[in-house]
Amino acid sequence: MAEIHLKNVSRRWHNFTAVDDLTLQIPDREFLVLLGPSGCGKSTTMRMIAGLEDVSSGEIWMGGKLMNHLEPKDRDVSMVFQSYGLYPNMTVYENIRFPLKIRGIPASEHKQRVMKAAEMVELTPFLDRRPAALSGGQRQRVALARAIVREPNCFLMDEPLSNLDAKLRVSTRAQIANLHHALKTTTIYVTHDQVEAMTLADRVVVMKGGIAQQVGKPMEIYDRPANTFVASFIGSPAMNLIDGDIADGTFSNPYLTVSGLPHAARGPVTLGFRAEDVSVVSEGGNLSAPVYSVENLGDSTMFAIKGAHDDLISLKADKTARMAIGETVHAHVPAAACHVFDRESGLRIDGFDNQAVA
């Protein structure tokens, strides 16, 4: 049983800090996703859990044992690598069996366990092939099978889907979700793709610059982003962020005025709202600007307009909406859908929460 506990963990090289004072409690059976842009420290965090990277300070506990100085092999975790890390000189069968062999599991069990793992990832027909003779998706499934065959305390997955094409990514994602459901093993999953995070995670840790920005269930993070970074990273398209001033519950800037906000703050702020919470109207509304681009997505139409700093603001409209570039679009941004962030620190300003949930 593996409850994982990171206590004030840091990783530093010379003058560079990859992970800064990270504390995380991961209960048994949880699917935890570390999400963030490249270089945010998410992979380093995972590699420290795996034992591939030294911990500069802090402690890593797993199942009640201090892990800091244990070799990877003594941590009872299994890991799926971005480039799969398959052994090119071994067949698929041997690849999957390798962890069993190396950990001294009785040979009599090997066949049955390998077959079971292979079956779970639908690899049975390819067992005697070499990795070089497999497609990318198949290789990824070999890596998965190799990870699950041993029934470890914890799965670590380092961007396992990023080398696959879009279609395969969706199906493999489903397979991973299904596997976790079946095996119920604690899983830590690293990705920079917020869709993967939203679809797979029990909880998400959004990281930036080695610091955990927000930890929470996917919907919590979606609905109540802790700061402008999280807000801009989660959701597709990302949340619109507009600078302006707030006074007496009214946000205003040259092309948008939102009133009816709580009186929780005043002064310069950043206002956030999602494209889907906006309603495009033919006249009136509190937002109007010339259309910069139009995207027909099939189920809807997205209009983009340019903000004060040349940043794009997305508006989602009905799929029947039609406008030409340069025409003026009018929209209504409801106060209830707005998030307010401190302009300086980017931190969410409390007091706007209750209304935000749509």
């Binding site: 090289w13 560079f16 990859a18 030294d54």
Partner: protein
């Protein structure tokens, strides 16, 4: 990788290098900074089969040994050995440059000094053979790459021969052929119409022969590396260059050569070091009269026939290493940058 694991993996190799390279180099440096004790000379009567008995000068072994026991390294000489006539010859250089002579005469006088004569040849050899070997190797690689598949095997095989031959023996084989009675020597005489033509008699011809030998032995290494590299030239880039209108030469110039640049760095690194240590052809070609290299003067100093001069050989060795480091410094800096990138 944790320090402990690193140590475990590197230890056998590091211990071997420490014991058999670093320690000797350390002692070599120490040696080069000392000269031997003043030998205690005595006059004794000695008798030999010829000329009967005479008074001759001898070393008083016991007295000298007593001196040596006191300070086993000898007398501290600092950089004296480095500066003396057999090495950097600072005093002689100063005199030459102060003297009222033409530049040409000055050069001739500097060239009389053993170290500079060796350095001059070594540098010329290194700077002709290294690029020439690389260029010849590159052209062979391009040409072999165009051959039909079935011919490639045997051609590569023959091409590697000069590289795998023992250098001393390779130089002997070529010298046998090149000397005035050998098949190539005769061919040269016939070609030049001069029946007395002999490479052993002419300094410039000897230099040319040594350099050609150097290219002969260096080209296969560049060839095999470049040939391997050619197999990895990306088709896409070549094809896009074709569509962009590049002719064959332009494709080589703008696609193939840039692709092979890292290999060329590796090859030149290895070859500069090897060429800078040139010794075997000078011995094999009996070329001492016309050419000396830094290695060959070290070799001469260490020959017991010549009363081994360990300190002098040590000083020349350190100067050699110094020059190699200077020559390689651009590559070292580049490696350092790459290493920095890889560090995290």
């Amino acid at each position: 990788m944790p320090h402990r694991t690193f140590l475990f993996f590197i230890l056998p190799s590091a211990v071997a290098m420490f014991l058999f390279i670093a320690l000797p180099i350390g002692s070599v440096i120490l040696q080069s900074l000392h000269v031997e004790h003043g030998q205690v000379l005595v006059e004794v009567e000695s008798c030999t089969p010829f000329g009967g008995c005479k008074t001759q000068t001898r070393v008083d072994a016991e007295a000298t040994a007593a001196l040596r026991a006191e300070a086993p390294l000898g007398r501290w000489n600092g950089l004296g050995t480095y500066m003396n006539r057999a090495h950097l010859a600072t005093a002689e250089l100063g005199e030459i440059f102060r003297s009222d002579t033409t530049l040409r005469e000055k050069f001739a006088q500097v060239y009389q000094l053993r170290f500079y004569r060796a350095l001059f040849f070594t540098l010329i050899y290194t700077f002709v053979v290294t690029p020439a070997g690389i260029i010849v190797g590159f052209w062979i690689a391009l040409a072999v790459n165009r051959l039909p598949q079935m011919l490639k095997g045997p051609v590569i095989f023959v091409s590697l021969l000069p590289m795998i031959i023992t250098p001393l023996i390779g130089s002997l084989v070529l010298y046998w052929m090149l000397n005035s009675r050998g098949i190539l020597g005769k061919a040269l005489q016939w070609l030049s119409g001069n029946p007395d033509l002999s490479i052993a008699a002419s300094g410039p011809l000897m230099w040319v022969s040594l350099i050609l030998y150097g290219i002969w032995i260096a080209a296969p290494f560049s060839f095999v590396v470049f040939y391997a590299g050619l197999q990895t030239v990306p088709d896409d880039t070549l094809e896009s260059a074709m569509i962009d209108g590049a002719n064959r030469w332009e494709r080589v110039r703008y696609v193939v050569i840039p692709h092979l640049m890292p290999l060329a760095t590796f090859v030149s690194l290895v070859q500069v070091m090897d060429n800078f240590r040139v010794l075997e052809p000078i011995v094999g070609f009996n070329a001492e009269a016309h050419a000396m290299s830094l290695s060959s003067i070290i070799y001469t100093d260490l020959q017991a026939e010549n009363g081994q001069l360990f300190g002098s050989a040590a000083a020349t060795s350190m100067l050699t290493i110094g020059f190699v480091v200077i020559l390689l410094s651009p590559v070292l800096v580049r490696t350092w940058r790459e290493f920095g990138k890889r560090a995290h």
